[in-house]
Symmetry: C2
Subunit: 314 residues, 2 copies
Amino acid sequence: MTHTPLVAALDIGGTKIAGALVDADGRLLARARRPTPAREDGDTVMGAVREVLRDLGASPLWGRVDAVGIGSAGPVDASTGTVSPVNVPGWRDYPLVARVREATGGLPVELIGDGVAITAAEHWQGAARGHDNALCMVVSTGVGGGLVLGGRLHPGPTGNAGHIGHISVDLDGDPCPCGARGCVERIASGPNIARRALAAGWRPGPDGDASAAAVAAAARCGDPVARASFERAAQALAAGIAATAALVEIDVAVVGGGVGKAGEVLFTPLRKALADYATLSFVRRLTVVPARMGTDAGLVGAAAAALTGRTAGV
Amino acid sequence: MTHTPLVAALDIGGTKIAGALVDADGRLLARARRPTPAREDGDTVMGAVREVLRDLGASPLWGRVDAVGIGSAGPVDASTGTVSPVNVPGWRDYPLVARVREATGGLPVELIGDGVAITAAEHWQGAARGHDNALCMVVSTGVGGGLVLGGRLHPGPTGNAGHIGHISVDLDGDPCPCGARGCVERIASGPNIARRALAAGWRPGPDGDASAAAVAAAARCGDPVARASFERAAQALAAGIAATAALVEIDVAVVGGGVGKAGEVLFTPLRKALADYATLSFVRRLTVVPARMGTDAGLVGAAAAALTGRTAGV
C-alpha cells in the first residue's frame, strides 16, 4: 500500500489562521484553526501559526507531508519570503517563510498572496477550471485577485500579481487609502457600495444593517438608489476586468467574495458594463461568472501552490 | 564552414510593408520594402507582401531561411493566423499566415501584433534587455504595447496582449473610437495631445505645425498650455503603467514612439505621476525609460518571434 505525499496548507488572514493537510486531489484530510491575534506583536502572531502547525502535526498523516503552501493577506514578497499584511501591523517584512520552514523541520515552503491563492483554487477545482487564461477576483471588504496565464498560475515575482483592486479606473477620482485615486476597490468594495448608497439617501431597515448585503437586498426589491450603487460598482469592476483582458488576454473573469454573492444585482449590470468597456475583438469573448469555491478556497489554493512548487522542484 | 539558419521577418503597417532576413544575433542581412496599398482590396495588399518576399527570396541568403516572423498592425489573431488591421480595410480576418506559408514554400510562420513585436525587440536588444518583467509601449498616432513576463514574451493566445492603449483609466471620460471611454490612447496619443493643447488655446507657430511634436517644442520653451497637455498625457500613461504593474508585476516600462521622443517634456511629469499611481509596495520599484530601438524594431521583434517559435518547436 503506497502512502502518497501530502502538503500542509496555511491560509493567513486578519481574522483567522486556518491550516489543513491536503492530498494531490485537493481533499482536506485534517484541519486546524486559530483566531489571528492581529493587534499583538509579530511573535505572538507567529505563535498562533505555530499552534496551527502543531495541531496539524498531531495528525497521523503528518509524516506524509513534504511541502507547505501559504496564502497570506498581502502585501507579500515571495522573493524574500516576507509578509506585511495591512491588517496585521505586527508583521512588517516578517520572515514568515523562514519561520514556517523552521517550525516544520525544514520543509520547502511556497508563499503567495491570498488573491493568488483563491485563483489557484478556482483554477484547480472551481469556476476557472479548464480555462488557460483567467482573472479571479474577491470583491468583499477589499478587492483582490489573481491571474492564470497560459494554463498556469501567474503569481509574479513577489506573489502579488492580479492586484486588480488597486488599479485606477478613474484617474481624477476619490483618493484611495493606497495613495492613488479612483481604484477599483475605492468604488466597488462592499463598504464603498454601502457608503455610496447611504450618501445618496438609502436608509437601512429596522435591523439597522447598513452593509453591502443590505444594499443588495434593497436593490433586489427595486430600490433605485441601492441599484445605482451596485451599477457604479459594476462599472468599475467592468473597466478593471476589461483592462486586464486587454493587457493579458483572459477568457473568463470569476467574481467571488461577499459582494460577488449579491448575484444578479451585481452580475446583470456587470455584464452590461463589460460590453461597454471590453470592445476590442480579442476581448469580446470574455465571460464573467460567479466563483464556485467556498470558504476553503484559500487553503485549497495554498495547497495548489505547494503542489506546483514541488513539481517545479522549488 | 557552417551556414547557420536565418529567419525572414515582416513588419506590416498601414503605411509600409518592410521585410528582412535576420540572423540569430538579430542582424538584418537583407532588406526589402513596399508601400502598403492600404485602400486597395485584400489581394492587392497581399500582392505587396509577395513582392517583399520575392525581393528577399532573390538574396543568395534565402536558402538558409527556415522560419518567418510577422509583426502586423492589429488586431491580429494568432490562434487562427488572421489579421484585421484597423487601417487596412481590405484585410478583415485575412488569412495572412496561410498566404505567407504558401508564398514561402511551406515555412513555419509566427504571427504577433506590432506592439508585441516592438516589445520582443526591446527585450532582445533594447531598453528592456535583462528585465524579466517589462511593459513596452509605443506612444504615437495610437498607443500600443506588449509584455515580457517571467523572462519571456507574453503575446497571449491571439498575439494582442499588452494592449495598454485601450484600457480605460477614466471610466466616465471621453468616448474612444474603440467604443469604450477614457482609454489611455484617447488621452495620451499624439493627436490627442495636440487636440487638447489647441482646445486650451495653444496656437502653432508660423510653419503651421500643429502636431504633438510642435506642442512638445512649445512645452520645452515653457508654454504652460503645451506643458499641461503633456502632463495630462503623462497622467494617463502613469495610471495605465501602474495598472499593468499591479496586475502582472513589471519592473520596467519602456516608452517609445513619436510622443516618447518628446523627452523630458513627457518623462518628467510621467515619473512624477507614476509616483502618485504606483503606490503598492511591490510596484514602487518600477522605473520608466525611453525606448532604445529605432525604426527596425518591428523587423527585429518579428524575427525574435520566429526564432523563439522555432526554439519552441512550433
